[in-house]
């Protein structure tokens, strides 16, 4: 059968666009900074690292805390995903939007809120001390990543055909056995995906470790920062960055392998909502309320403190420029939303094409894309930021101070979310369904339009929501890119407001955090609605 040229050209675009994006904005900068750092005394720095007990301890702690954070997040998030999977359409959309809120909160603000909670419940001292312990780090990681498990697994779960479970139950399998032998194996690709993201997020977490973990804890991420930024020791920093890269490569390879094992196919539609035990729903709602609700409630309360009482003065003040900021905070919010839209658009475009390559491409190419597009999430913001500075510094690619570099950096972090949420969904499409369509005379593009896209959309909305939330709240990578004052983002503005003493500035910072939360909830809900209407048209 001869394929029309347009199909071949389309296939070329599908491969080339994501490949070029990652090559130019990730591989080239990271390779440049690593070569620059390792070129000097890098190799001896690498040898020093290998023999340093302190650095071995840092590597161990980095991996350990990320693993434990992942396990804990799964333990708390999976039950909640089961509830979400069986909610009705509107309730599910609202829940999915609400759990995304922690994503946009700057670590500094969350750390402050957590410490406020610790203080209130006497957890700042004594036997149950949380402040400056590893428990505070783990708790914060569960807080930030809960949404990853709930949305990724919950979204996938909702699309599973529940008749299999019904059949198993009818044949006499107990509830537990049905879960272990029927549900869990089918969920595994989505769980592996969510686990990979949570692991990488925790692996490279910076503020949580520094602020909540206390001065004695160090991870690869904080060490890279210490050497590159505080000491300008680029050799040691590059050696550490190389270790980070290798560790992430190894762990992502394991995760993608788990995700690929025995794909179990689903048919679209035919989803039935199941009844849920009331106690199970209440239990999960309570966990979510305590875990996510308490720190957020502390923030909202603080944002409303005005003068001697409560009021909206902090919110009104956002429209007026204070001298510490180059523009009013409202402009910063607007900038952040525009950046986030641009970043989400890029992440969705690149991530969707890449997911198609991962699922339908040749084996080698598929593996390469799967690994390569997930890596940015596990790479230090310092490595990417400094890499961009030295690599993209000459025309035609002098993007160092371009407006685009901020959304590009955000998209790099958003793409892995899109890929990791779409790939399991696309892979779960029963090939027989596509074959049947082809036999019945559907062209490849029609198969794509009527089968891949509607089913893939389920993963896409989850990924797009994350890409938007990640960009809106992004601080680390943004702060490493030299910015024009008129491009001030909300998280940077918030950090600046907290940099000078005075309750007026602090109150404004808290109000800004709450506005960010509301913004992300509204936008993610709107993205979910888009999907809802797309499905309705089927």
């Amino acid at each position: 059968m001869r394929r029309p040229t347009s199909t071949i050209a389309a296939a070329g675009v599908v491969v080339l666009v994501p490949a070029a994006f990652i090559a130019v904005f990730f591989v080239f900068p990271v390779a440049s900074i690593l070569l620059r750092g390792l070129g000097g005394d890098g190799l001896s720095a690498l040898a020093d690292l290998a023999t340093s007990p302190r650095q071995r301890g840092v590597l161990w702690f980095t991996v350990w805390q990320a693993l434990v954070s992942t396990v804990l997040t799964l333990a708390v998030g999976l039950p909640a995903a089961s509830v979400m999977a069986r909610m009705g359409g509107r309730a599910q959309r609202v829940t999915r939007a609400l759990v995304t809120v922690p994503f946009v909160l700057p670590t500094l603000v969350v750390a402050g809120a957590f410490e406020g909670v610790f203080d209130r419940f006497g957890l700042d001292a004594g036997a149950f001390r949380l402040r400056h312990t590893v428990w505070a780090i783990l708790l914060a990681h569960v807080f930030f990543n809960y949404a990853v498990v709930v949305r990724t697994v919950g979204g996938y779960w909702a699309g599973l055909d529940r008749r299999l479970e019904d059949q198993a139950r009818m044949l006499g399998a107990s509830r537990r056995r049905t879960w272990w032998e029927v549900t869990l194996p089918r969920l595994r690709p989505a769980i592996a995906s969510a686990a990979a993201i949570v692991f990488l997020f925790s692996f490279t977490s910076f503020g949580v470790v520094l602020i909540l973990g206390g001065p004695r804890r160090a991870t690869l991420e904080t060490e890279i920062y210490r050497y590159a930024v505080t000491r300008s020791d680029f050799s040691t920093a590059a050696a550490l960055a190389l270790v980070q890269l290798v560790a992430v490569l190894a762990l992502v390879a394991v995760a993608t392998r788990l995700e690929r094992l025995r794909p179990i196919h689903n048919r679209p539609g035919r989803v039935r909502r199941g009844a849920l035990g009331a106690r199970w729903v209440i239990l999960n709602a309570s966990v979510a309320l305590v875990l996510l609700g308490t720190p957020i409630a502390v923030l909202v309360e603080r944002s409303l403190v005005a003068g001697d009482g409560y009021g909206l003065a902090n919110y009104r003040a956002l429209a007026t420029r204070v001298r510490q900021l180059p523009a009013p905070a409202t402009i910063a919010i607007w900038n952040s939303v525009v950046f986030a839209i641009a970043a989400t658009a890029m992440a969705v475009l690149v991530g969707t094409l890449a997911s198609l390559v991962v699922v339908h491409g040749r084996r080698g190419l598929s593996r390469l894309f799967d690994l390569g597009l997930t890596l940015p999430l596990g790479t230090s913001a310092v490595t990417i930021g400094f890499g961009i500075l030295i690599a993209l510094d000459e025309p035609p690619l002098d993007l160092r101070t371009s407006w685009w570099i901020v959304p590009i950096a955000h998209a790099l972090i958003g793409i892995p979310f899109v890929v990791r949420t779409m790939v399991p969904v696309l892979r779960s499409i029963d090939p027989r369904l596509r074959e049947a369509a082809a036999i019945l005379g559907a062209t490849p593009s029609r198969v794509r339009r009527e089968i891949d896209i509607p089913i893939g959309a389920r993963g896409l909305v989850v990924g797009a929501g994350f890409a938007f939330a990640v960009s809106l709240g992004e601080f680390g990578a943004t702060s490493f890119i030299p910015r024009r004052p008129e491009n001030l983002t909300a998280p940077i503005a918030l950090f600046r407001l907290l940099g000078t003493p005075g309750d007026l500035l602090r109150g404004q910072a808290m109000a800004l955090a709450v506005v960010l939360m509301v913004t992300v909830a509204i936008v993610v809900m709107a993205i979910e609605m888009l999907r809802g209407s797309a499905e309705g048209g089927l």
Partner: protein, 351 residues
């Protein structure tokens, strides 16, 4: 490997972002001699830099030079980035390198010498580079602050008193590895105590709390943010900020400054080596030493002006106090010993 990557990059970039890049790359051309009108210069600074649009407009009106600002994290990040991009700098002028990072910048040959026409107006003792590669623009003190109503004992007056039992568990400091005021306070103790290692051992025994940065010290542990500790490393200008940004308004600050604990931080500006606009860059440094800019500095950045003739706002004359004899260390000595001092500090305090 570089060339193919660059070509690939070129293709993609021109396809996707051609329009945007074109606008950004608009060349300004080079200038000769004193004819600087019509050029655009870029000024890079740390995130704390603030200037009014009126002041910037007056500079452009006087010189014909347009200014593009860039901000880039904290001082450490800005200097590290400048070292990485040396030869192809991001900007023409750098503002905000301080005396704790100065030597690192000088060693990396980041700056071209420029002798400002207003150098004679600068307060004595602030200009630290005899070759004028950098020019002092402002200064401030990093000092221990106390919350007046929360102190468990009389107001301390010396660094040594902080190790006394009545202040047990009261002091919050920042890790010098991750915080600029944290490093400044370590330097204050190195310059200001007989035996700084013993001093920190005593502080540790007295229950000093360490945080990663200023924000979590001031708002997390210190009384200001609801914490329980009454002493924190902050700035001499923090009390006036507590008045300016008070809610509800107050007449006097709730905090005070321990003047014996102050380390003097001086911030400099310099013309970045490799600039095509050295003359215009120099003109901007001159402008930064004029009263137009200097009078703004206290309330926009909460630091003190570097020129004698600057007029301090009433918030500063009423509520800010500077140390008569602040602690200072030679930038070269700081750069030579900094990593070793910090490593030793970590051993003593964090064990």
């Amino acid at each position: 490997m570089q060339t193919p990557t660059r070509i690939l990059g070129f293709l993609i970039a021109s396809a996707l972002f051609g329009a945007a890049c074109g606008a950004d790359d608009a060349s300004n051309g080079t200038t000769d001699g004193d004819d600087i009108a019509g050029t655009t210069i870029t000024v890079i600074s740390h995130d704390s830099f603030a200037i009014s649009t009126d002041a910037l407009a007056s500079f452009t009106a006087d010189t014909g030079v347009e200014v593009q600002l860039l901000s880039s994290g904290d001082v450490g990040q800005m200097v590290s980035e400048a070292i990485l991009t040396a030869g192809n700098p991001l900007a023409d002028v750098m503002f905000g390198i301080d005396n704790t990072f100065l030597q690192r910048g000088l060693d990396a040959n980041l700056f071209e010498p420029y002798e400002s026409v207003h150098l004679d107006d600068v307060i004595d003792g602030l200009a630290l580079d005899p070759d004028n590669r950098v020019t002092p623009i402002d200064f401030g003190d990093v000092c221990v602050n106390y919350w007046i109503d929360a102190l468990p004992a009389p107001v301390p007056t010396t660094l040594e008193q902080l190790t006394a039992p009545e202040y047990e568990g009261q002091l919050v400091v920042q890790n010098p590895e991750t915080s600029s005021p944290g490093l400044a306070f370590l330097l204050a103790t190195i310059a200001g105590t007989e035996d700084w290692e013993q001093y920190w051992a005593d502080l540790t025994a007295n229950g000093v709390t360490v945080t990663a940065g200023w924000e979590d010290a001031y708002y997390g542990e210190f009384v200001a943010g609801g914490g329980e500790r009454s002493l924190v490393v902050s700035y001499a200008s923090s009390p006036p900020a507590e008045v300016v940004f008070a809610d509800p308004p107050v007449d006097t600050p709730p905090t005070g400054v321990l003047l014996d604990s102050c380390f003097r931080q001086i911030e400099f500006a310099g013309v970045l080596a490799g600039t095509d606009h050295a003359a215009a860059a120099g003109a901007f440094i001159d402008f930064m030493l004029t009263p137009t800019f200097q009078n703004e500095v206290p309330l926009s950045m909460f630091v003190f002006p570097a020129i004698e003739s600057a007029v301090l706002p009433s918030e500063f004359t009423d509520h800010a106090r500077l140390a008569d004899r602040p602690h200072l260390l030679d930038p070269a000595e700081i750069e030579a010993n900094r990593d070793a001092w910090v490593d030793r500090w970590v051993e003593i305090v964090l064990g």
